[in-house]
């Protein structure tokens, strides 16, 4: 079913008898395994994996990599994703055999270095967020959200508050917030944003009641705006007995300026693969540590990492009120190593500079872009901002078209059509690791596209023109799903 012009899938390179491996020798007695098993348990047909040589594999995946855009390839201002530089030193450290080749069930005495690292990372994240305890177990942000909500649920239940079944989520929130609420057994309730892009306090008062378990909030929010009514919001929610959940997706904006604990939050998750430079890896792995205040600490997942008086680290399983285990072993350690290395590279001043530069870069771009593009919320932003493609839409050019046109300029486009409360949204997050020259070049490209929208809309509507494939037929992909390769 492949056309000549198609890029081959690896199965199409396969030729019977070719090998890409050299396994250790069989240096023990040869056992006749088949004698031991009933025939129906012995695989009769081998899995149809490719048979390819080592160089063929390298060429295949190298070619695939050139059909992919990463932060190292070029600017990646994808809003809400914090696509900052992934330091190479972190990669080297994570590959040290003493960190990459250790087993989770080794005696604690033989992994004291790893435990010390995790303990110090926990402690550092505690100080950055102001939370009393941090667990490193959650594999990613969404799992962190669910973990935090499960702790809030356990807390309410321990108080006999079984009626607290609702979690309030702003309409601008990331989709994982309401989804995590459902998975934790709550009902998600939406609170509206006001005309300034912030949570509407009146609507919050309306939805908060004795059934409220928690309010989940990202601050700055997904519009990149600081929820400056946070004190009142915390009062409203706490006053009704609910707890405040901080979605740390946007922590990159505030390090050293404010901490979730200062704002009144009770639970926090962080995305180490955003703020703390864990590489996104094409979709993961991430790491989503969760911090809590003292009152929620008894409910933390098992085990915690603790320290004895004589500086010996150990896993503390003796936690009778814990929500239990959320993941086998101790979290995505390899990502935690990278984040720890980053924090130690930056120090307290460095992290504050990160947030300052991230916010300055975003405001600079926002001001420059607002000359050509509609700015729905005209105020200082934090680390990201949202534009609307309304002006260009009038000329028949949609935000999707502009995003595709940006590909021709070598950029990954901003996040589009999110958050949902802005028409034709373009959400831009430059991060602190980009130079002013890069921001200027991107602004020039955006202005050029806006000009094309007026003078030559087809060029934009038919973009991209330079990529290895054109726009894909996503409708057919969903209607007649082909989710694996079949040989002809």
């Amino acid at each position: 079913m492949a056309n000549e012009q198609d890029f081959p899938v690896i199965f199409e390179l396969s030729k019977e008898g070719r090998k890409g491996y050299h396994l250790p020798e069989l240096d023990v007695d040869d056992f006749n395994l088949d004698d031991e098993f009933q025939k129906q348990y012995i695989r009769q047909e081998d899995p149809d994996l490719p048979e390819v040589s080592e160089l063929q594999i390298m060429r295949h995946y190298t070619a695939l990599s050139t059909r992919n855009h990463g932060v190292d390839s070029g600017f990646y201002p994808l809003g809400s994703c914090t696509m900052k530089y992934n330091p190479k030193m972190n990669e080297d450290v994570a590959r040290l055999p003493g960190l990459s080749s250790i087993h989770p069930y080794q005696p604690e005495s033989s992994v004291q270095g790893a435990l010390a690292l995790m303990y110090d990372l926990q402690t550092s994240l505690s100080h950055i967020t102001g939370m009393d305890y941090v667990t490193l177990q959650s594999a990613a942000g969404a799992q962190g959200e669910w973990t935090g909500l499960m702790m809030i649920r356990a807390f309410h239940e321990a108080n006999g508050d079984y009626q607290r079944t609702k979690v309030i989520v702003p309409d601008s929130a990331h989709g994982t917030n309401p989804a995590s609420a459902t998975v934790a057994g709550f009902e998600a309730v939406t609170v509206k944003s006001n005309e300034r892009g912030l949570v509407d306090l009146d609507d919050l008062r309306r939805v908060v009641d004795e059934q409220t378990a928690a309010l989940m909030l990202t601050n700055p929010n997904t519009l990149g705006l600081f929820e400056k009514d946070i004190i009142e919001m915390a009062e409203i929610v706490h006053g009704a007995g609910g707890r405040l959940y901080y979605d740390g997706a946007n922590l990159n904006a505030i390090m050293g300026y404010t901490r979730p604990v200062d704002m009144g939050f009770d639970v926090v998750h962080l995305n180490l693969h955003k703020t703390f430079t864990g590489p996104h890896g094409g979709g993961g792995p991430g790491s989503g540590p969760v911090g809590v205040t003292n009152e929620l600490a008894p409910f933390l997942p098992k085990p915690l990492i603790a320290k004895t008086g004589d500086e010996q680290y150990f896993f503390d399983y003796d936690r009778p009120h814990s929500i239990g285990r959320i993941k086998p072993y101790y979290g995505n350690f390899g990502i935690n190593v990278r984040a720890y290395t980053y924090i130690r590279s930056m120090g307290p001043d460095g992290l504050k500079q990160v947030s300052e530069s991230a916010v300055l870069n975003a405001n600079y771009m926002m001001r420059r872009l607002s000359e050509e593009f509609e700015l729905p919320y005209d105020q200082h932003c934090k680390h990201e901002f949202v534009l609307s493609g309304k002006n260009q839409k009038k000329m028949g050019v949609r935000t999707l078209d502009m995003a595709k046109r940006l590909l021709d300029f070598g950029y990954h486009p901003p996040t589009i059509y999110f958050p949902l409360n802005v028409e034709e949204a373009l959400m831009v997050e430059p991060t602190e690791t980009e130079a002013k020259e890069t921001l200027d070049e991107f602004v020039d490209a955006m202005n050029q596209i806006s000009k094309e929208a007026k003078e030559d809309p087809e060029t934009v509507q038919e973009a991209p023109h330079t990529t290895v494939v054109d726009r894909m037929d996503e409708t057919t992909a969903a209607r007649k799903p082909i989710l694996r390769y079949y040989r002809d």
Binding site: L96, S101, Q143, G282
Partner: protein, 449 residues
Amino acid sequence: MQHRYIPMTDEDRQAMLKTIGVSSSDELFADIPEPVRFTGELNIKPAKSEFELKKEMAGLAEQNSHTQSHTSFLGAGVYEHYIPSIVDHVISRSEFYTAYTPYQPEISQGELQAIFEFQTMICEMTGMEVANSSMYDGGTALAEAVNLSAGQTKKKKVIVSKAIHPESLDVIYTYAKGFNLDIIEIDHQNGLTDLDQLKAELDDDTASVVMQYPNFFGQIEPLEDVQSLVSEQQKTMMIVSSNPLALGYLTPPGEFGADIVVGDAQVFGIPTQFGGPHCGYFATTKKLMRKVPGRLVGQTTDDEGRRGFVLTLQAREQHIRRDKATSNICSNQALNALASSVAMSALGKQGVREMAELNMKKARYAKKAFESAGFETLYDGPFFNEFIVKLNKPVQELNEALLQEGFIGGYDLGRDQEQYDHHMLVAVTEVRSKDEIDQFVSKVGELNG
């Protein structure tokens, strides 16, 4: 100080502040209400230079015993295996590891196609029709499978074999709480799930039955018999957690009619790294395709008719369906799925069987060696690459002593179930040589007293 990760100079700063129309960056933070501002200095260690920090991290790493300093017989769900060098070279291509989720298919064909190939390889290994782009790990994949079965069958009772990984069982309990599921545990006899008990518990209210194949003790559960029991209930699903390497030799669960097969692809190309990140996989039938958690890549064509790949069936997912999504999963383990794909490509059709058989043969040699040295071993049934050795003293004590002798000993089964005090689960993979096995058996004999 100008940090190497932050390019902004003072000159840049001044020019940018001027464009914004403010005199200092503090004005950009003025909307943070004064009472919630943090005015101190973050209480974290001061920045260290690249050279000094690398040295410190290397020092921390060297405090740990690892598989290059010690010979390991530890498994229990996480294994040391042959990792072809090409794996790390491929995943170190920064076009892969510094990319986000492939939402823009025109500039993400590399990642999308790599995932499509991964999905295909997982289908091939498990004998299933559909596989997703990865889950966090085998344990959470299993818990998600349980939740899916309850949602699909609208039933709350889930029967779980106690011969599955104890930490997976724990995770199932935690995840099940969100949907108020009722988890029933089935004991094991002679290392295998007690099918009489399973039969007695199975009824019309059962959403699913959860088995591990090979199970936590390394034994091969008779899936054919399990399936015939499960199929007596019309809706009940069979969920199987499988080490995919074992499926190079064993008949895949798909051929026994499994509805969902999950597990961890760590065995293919992923270092143990203290338990994570690994790579959960999730495979199922076409019937359940639209209920699958997480991302799916599908094949399609572009405007010119060229084959290409996109994320598809996204209406299941949290960013579209929000509180009605099939799962809250967003980030997964894409880079590790790539690592596993490269490893599976290198092994190919012949290599997976050869590697599985090497594990089995070396493990059998080790089991016999323990028996010849006078140890009691468990059990007698067919097994993959793990077996149990009974010791005279606590496993923990012996393992501490083994460390001094250059060995990382097996898993202490007594930590989960009292009946297994003094029982060590020994894993022998293809990387262990005859000499290493002989020395290990002799050293355990010596220390066992």
